[in-house]
Homo-oligomer: 451 residues x 2
């Protein structure tokens, strides 16, 4: 379950050996630890000249006093090197004002200078306007071209850094803070190369130290692995957690629930009366619904049994849809609820030996996309989170060479941790994250695999 | 410029050695040859039970008499093996009727049986309805899940086969024939794992042996490589071709133009008066516009000069936009014209050392998406074609190990040929291909790389 190579490559002897042999040298990623309050532990540099800079400055001003926000003045940036200021932990470039091809050079100018002053594990966010929201085809093309830039930069940045592109809709400026607190902090350590659209959202986080305070969350498949990490992270952020798993996992489930001050619910989500049982178990309703339970039954299609096909679709796709519908019908799912479906990059790129799994995960992405407009009328958001290679008991069972390939085939040269997926879910579960709906967020270290 | 390994692996000695050593054994792909008339040289099997079967049967009925169309009767399919019928060259599964999760098992049932009877280089097309066109979230999820299936099957099928998913809009049934003639024939040899949306289109191909008869086409960067192959293929399909390239390539350009019965146009597309010159050179207007001219100037962003950045954006992005605008303004671009922009998978996935190139190619994709609605009012379509690793003089210059990685990192274990890109462009240039607009078609052998 652990990546021994990364520990070795970051040891004193290992570092020298890895360098001498020209082996990959993945950086040990910084993660968020409970009790931390500062999203950015170092300097934040703002560049660009769009309409979103003010929202970024508001965020920067609210950072703890030891954080440092610098503004890219006309001549200030060239002097920005490690010698002249603190190393840069976060870069935000407001590209929302770029509307002509000639202006794109500003990206080169800003980042070429800023790259020189980067700290370890830097977080980069590029802000733009969604191309489909723009009338001028050239402006739309310019904004769309930012995807090519951010994804290339994500593959170049190294040092454990990550790069995202946020398309900020009109009226969504107020939701930037929540997004930046995620994407500029170690909470997004293993998220890179992503494109996220923010729209207006009525709800707001009140207390950033406990953004989920007062919310009740249900997490399926919560006894171990990614599900347990999600439950733990939601509880850390203030949510009251209800942990669901199969009856055979009851002991582990109850132990975790007790530790998190929540309660366990042993239930087969594929049972005919699962919806009813769930409604009965949640008399006071639920605000956060995380469909994490999932199974694999891998076989090539030529050897795929009906039982393998059906069990994967039943657990991974049909159950989440039916349980969500049951909670909606019973009024158990509150207005402004947050629904998160655990998909997979297999559902995006397809995978050999996983027709059943890829169908189920692509179906979840489709469910998020299709359900978002109707649920949005009640303020409910629904999104998919698509993990790449995550270090769990499930991936530990993969044969060594395939496991190594899976681990290294991403921009960070390493697998992610269950916590990385959990942090993404916890962000999407926040009140202000109604700004995001019908979308897919990959947690994959910018895996090379895609469609 | 040639892949010697694939020749070796398909030789008598090589085949045995490759097998004994467990090396990759890429199949020599079948390509279309001039003069051929039958899209499917073998049996076509139709399965599924949606509303699109009739359109497929119409197409099958028009196939040459030696082609064979079989219908998946309730019990007929189980008996479909190589012993009981001709090997299958083409599979079409009509999934447009699938609206519930339980029905997805039909995919397994059909393909598991059909896979046993496959010929070499089989072509698979799955037909569905675009999820965004469906009101029922479950039906939309089911249709979306087909992406996971087709992409997984593409990675499993081997034998040089390919798999596509076509979402057929209401009223687009009449355009299925053109799409099937492309996707079920060797014209799409190197296209796989693609999702294409078809909508209604007023125009139709009249003569399938010369689908571009009566059309005038302009191809930029036409002196060599992919551009030359495009010019050649458009001419083969009946178009009158105007070949554009830089003045320094004038000799090669004129020679090719003479051979194709077209004419050459030596012009710097970045010149201030390029638009004017182009309008003047096309007094009778143009029906097909292929922006193929492109350059690379690779450097990591840290070392990217302003000149490298600007030259790539000028040639690859700005010139296509400005020339198209000039042709539109002058009325040179006819109603129902077909515009094709050559993008790249670097523009989709990003690439290390190619921030400038990826920006330019992502910008072209954005241009196609943004311009499609307005141009559609005049019946004009605009699409991007995104090649993966194609065997050209450009890729022959890549160092061996990187070149080998690029060649093999796709479902077909080999690079494509310029002709593969040209066939995709020629299909999008057809009168009936107005059914496709604002989209990106990858020609990449289902490269593993993506976003």
């Amino acid at each position: 379950m652990s990546d021994r190579y990364i520990a070795f490559a970051n040891s004193n002897v290992g570092r020298r050996l890895v360098g001498a042999l020209g082996l990959p040298a993945p950086v040990r990623l910084e993660r968020w630890s409970a009790g931390r309050t500062r999203p950015v532990a170092g300097a934040l540099l703002l560049g660009g000249s769009g309409q979103l800079g003010e929202a970024v400055l508001t965020f920067a001003a609210r950072l703890s006093d030891s954080a440092y926000a610098a503004i890219d003045g006309q001549h200030g940036l060239r002097r920005w090197t490690a010698e002249h200021g603190p190393a840069l932990k976060a870069l935000v470039f407001d590209a929302s004002g770029l509307a002509r091809f000639e202006q794109l050079i500003e990206l080169r100018d800003f980042f070429q200078a800023a790259l020189k002053g980067l700290d370890l594990c830097p977080h980069v966010v590029i802000l733009g306007r969604a191309p489909e929201s723009l009338k001028d085809p050239i402006a739309a093309s310019v904004q769309r071209s930012l995807e090519g830039f951010s994804r290339s930069l994500g593959k170049e940045i190294r040092r454990g850094g990550n790069v995202q592109l946020l398309y900020v809709g009109k009226g969504a400026e107020e939701q930037l803070e929540g997004a930046l607190r995620f994407f500029l902090s170690p909470k997004s350590a293993y998220v890179s190369g992503q494109v996220v659209r923010l729209s207006a959202c009525a709800e707001q986080v009140r207390d950033w130290s406990r953004p989920l305070a007062g919310k009740r969350a249900l997490v399926t498949g919560a006894a171990r692995g990614i599900g347990a990490a999600i439950a733990e992270t939601l509880a850390r952020d203030g949510a009251e957690v209800v942990l669901l798993d199969v009856p055979s996992a009851k002991d582990a489930l109850d132990a975790l629930a007790a530790r998190l001050g929540g309660h366990g619910l042993a239930l087969d989500i594929c049972a005919a009366d699962a919806g009813q049982a769930l409604v009965a178990a949640l008399p006071d309703g639920v605000d956060i619904l995380v469909h994490n339970a999932g199974i694999t039954r891998d076989k090539t299609l030529a050897k795929m049994s009906e039982a393998f096909w059906n069990s994967v679709l039943d657990v991974n796709l049909k159950a989440p849809q039916q349980l969500t519908q049951a909670l909606l019908d019973a009024g158990t799912l509150h207005d402004n609820a947050r629904v998160v479906l655990l998909a997979s990059i297999s559902g995006i790129a397809g995978n050999l030996g996983q027709t059943n799994y890829a169908v189920s995960k692509a179906g979840l992405i489709g469910l998020a996309q299709a359900w978002a407009p109707a649920l949005g009328k009640r303020g409910i958001s629904i999104n998919a989170v698509a993990p790449g290679f995550i270090e769990t008991q499930m991936t530990a069972a993969i044969p060594l060479t395939i496991r190594e390939a899976g681990r290294r085939m991403n921009a960070m040269g390493q697998g992610g941790l269950p916590q990385d997926v959990a942090e993404a879910v916890a962000w999407l579960a926040q009140p202000g994250s109604g700004a995001v709906s019908g979308q897919v967020l990959r947690v994959c270290g910018q895996s090379l695999l895609g469609a």
